[in-house]
């Protein structure tokens, strides 16, 4: 999963709905778009169901490298 892909997915989904609503697509194309829309929608739903957000502390080591430590709020 890439950064911000939820936004992009949602945006794409809106585009697809718009295209379908325009009534300009042929049967095969609209079916293809619909399939894509369903796929994107499932992806978005999965994203929303994730609850594994962790809290970490970003530390800079002496050698300049960065490391993440678990953070207890």
């Amino acid at each position: 999963m890439k950064k911000q892909s939820f936004d992009q997915a949602l945006q794409r989904l809106e585009e697809i709905v718009e295209q379908l609503e325009s009534g300009q697509l042929g049967l095969e194309e609209s079916l293809a778009r619909f399939e894509e829309g369903v796929r994107i929608s499932m992806f978005c739903q999965e994203e929303l169901q994730k609850t594994d957000g962790k809290v970490s502390l970003l530390m800079k080591k002496m050698n300049g490298e960065m490391e993440l430590l678990d953070f207890e709020a």
Binding site: M1, K3, Q4, F6, D7, L10, L13, E14, I16, V17, L20, E21, G23, L25, L27, S30, L31, F34, G37, V38, S41, C44, Q45, E47, L48, Q49, K50, T51, D52, G53, K54, V55, S56, L57, L58, K60, M66, L68, F71, A73
Partner: protein, 407 residues
């Protein structure tokens, strides 16, 4: 009589001198307020600013004093900004006050205003530098004290609204001498780490002195250098820090910053549901439209009654073949007639026909006799008539001169 001018002209001249001086037209003056009066009707403030043995009359008009966050009073040390002008009625100069700060805070304020102007001119606060916030961040970076209430507030809001979001905290002190450098380093580290989608920089509320780290050049520079969008969250409502001006988005409190940083998942879920409904509806409509187009085609007569269509074709075919036969017949007749005519013509030319009219063909030993030169008296000739032949004998010959009219 000596040359003279009027008092009005004198005051006018002095007023013009004052107005022409750029220093006097925008000057900060420090002093202590005395004889403060606020006229209820006009809303204008009149007082004297003193220090040691010196004093200057001051006026702060209603339009200028409305923004004051404190009520001036006698004995108060203040820092004034304004322009020097002449009060012609009494022939004395006074300070027309534009801005007033309590001194102490005022000194800090002055310094702040100076830095603000400088940074503004360098473009740090320009609107076109502002980056949009991501609608659905996966990871939120926070630069604040790891022990502060601000961090607790931020984490609480994020847990409530969007539990899937990761949080990476870059600890920094938020006040004191090290705070500006540490805050800037935190922003830099999160950028170097690279995995966060948005950064919250902030702290809880405090006095102007407490918030000074957020008014530092280091922090402003770090915010504008950040490639990741920054939300400032300094807990104060009234004044705006320079960090707020430089940030892509300003939140009044850490809690509000967290609300801005992450979406409420229930809202997103609703949005997704509604877009899903739209998707299905649009698809159904599309299918219906295609089905209608098909129905329309199927309603055409050819599909309802193909027999009739074929019947017509048969009829057309029959008519065409009849026409063909007729044409052929006519053609044949024409040709037959032509033939008969030709035969009749031939018949006219037949020698038998000529003989039928009374002519005879004379021959002698298979040679047709065309001239008297070919015979001599006593020769026996054959005469062919239309219905038989005779054997005749030549008695004598006599030459006839041809007449022109005969053929």
């Amino acid at each position: 009589m000596k040359e003279f001018i009027t008092v009005s002209a004198l005051n006018e001249y002095i007023g013009a001198l004052l107005e022409a001086d750029p220093i006097l037209q925008g000057i900060w003056v420090k002093g202590e307020i005395s004889g403060f009066r606020l006229f209820q009707q006009s809303g204008h403030m009149y007082f004297t600013l003193k220090d040691g043995d010196a004093a200057v009359s001051c006026v702060m008009f209603r339009s200028r004093n409305q923004g004051l966050k404190f009520l001036p009073e006698d004995g108060m040390e203040v820092l004034l900004f304004g322009a020097v002008g002449i009060f012609s009625k009494q022939g004395r100069y006074q300070l027309y006050v534009e801005n007033m700060q309590p001194f102490g805070a005022g000194a800090l304020y002055l310094q702040l205003e100076k830095l603000k102007k400088e940074l503004d001119q360098q473009g740090y606060f320009a609107m076109e530098r502002k980056k949009p916030l991501p609608a659905m961040p996966h990871c939120v970076g926070v630069v604040t004290s790891q022990d502060g209430a601000a961090l607790r507030d931020i984490l609480k809001v994020i847990r409530q609204r969007c539990p899937s979001v990761r949080v990476v905290v870059a600890h920094s002190s938020v006040q004191g001498v090290d705070a500006p450098r540490e805050l800037a380093a935190g922003i830099g580290s999160l950028n170097a780490y690279g995995q966060v989608d948005v950064i919250i920089v902030g702290r809880g509320g405090g006095s102007l002195e407490d918030l000074m780290a957020f008014n530092s050049r280091e922090v402003v520079e770090a915010i504008s250098l950040s490639v990741i969008p920054v939300i400032s969250a300094v807990g104060h409502e009234v004044d705006v820090t320079l960090a707020d001006l430089a940030a892509d988005v300003r939140a009044a409190t850490p809690t509000q910053a967290a609300q801005m940083a992450v979406p409420d998942q229930t809202v997103l879920r609703d949005q997704l549901h509604s877009i899903n409904r739209q998707l299905t509806r649009a698809m159904q409509k599309n299918l219906r439209r295609q089905a209608e187009a098909l129905d329309y085609l199927m309603m055409r007569r050819i599909w309802r009654d193909p027999g009739e269509f074929l019947e017509k074709r048969h009829r057309d075919l029959r008519q065409a073949s009849q026409a063909l036969i007729k044409a052929m017949q006519k053609n044949l007749q024409t040709r037959q007639h032509g033939l008969a005519m030709a035969v009749a013509g031939l018949d006219q030319l037949s020698p038998l026909k000529v003989m039928g009219r009374g002519y005879a063909i004379l021959s002698h030993q298979q040679t047709i006799i065309k001239s008297i030169e070919q015979v001599s008296p006593g020769m026996q000739l054959k005469a062919r008539l239309s219905d038989g032949q005779l054997v005749v004998e030549v008695k004598e010959k006599e030459k006839i001169a041809h007449e022109k009219t005969e053929f």
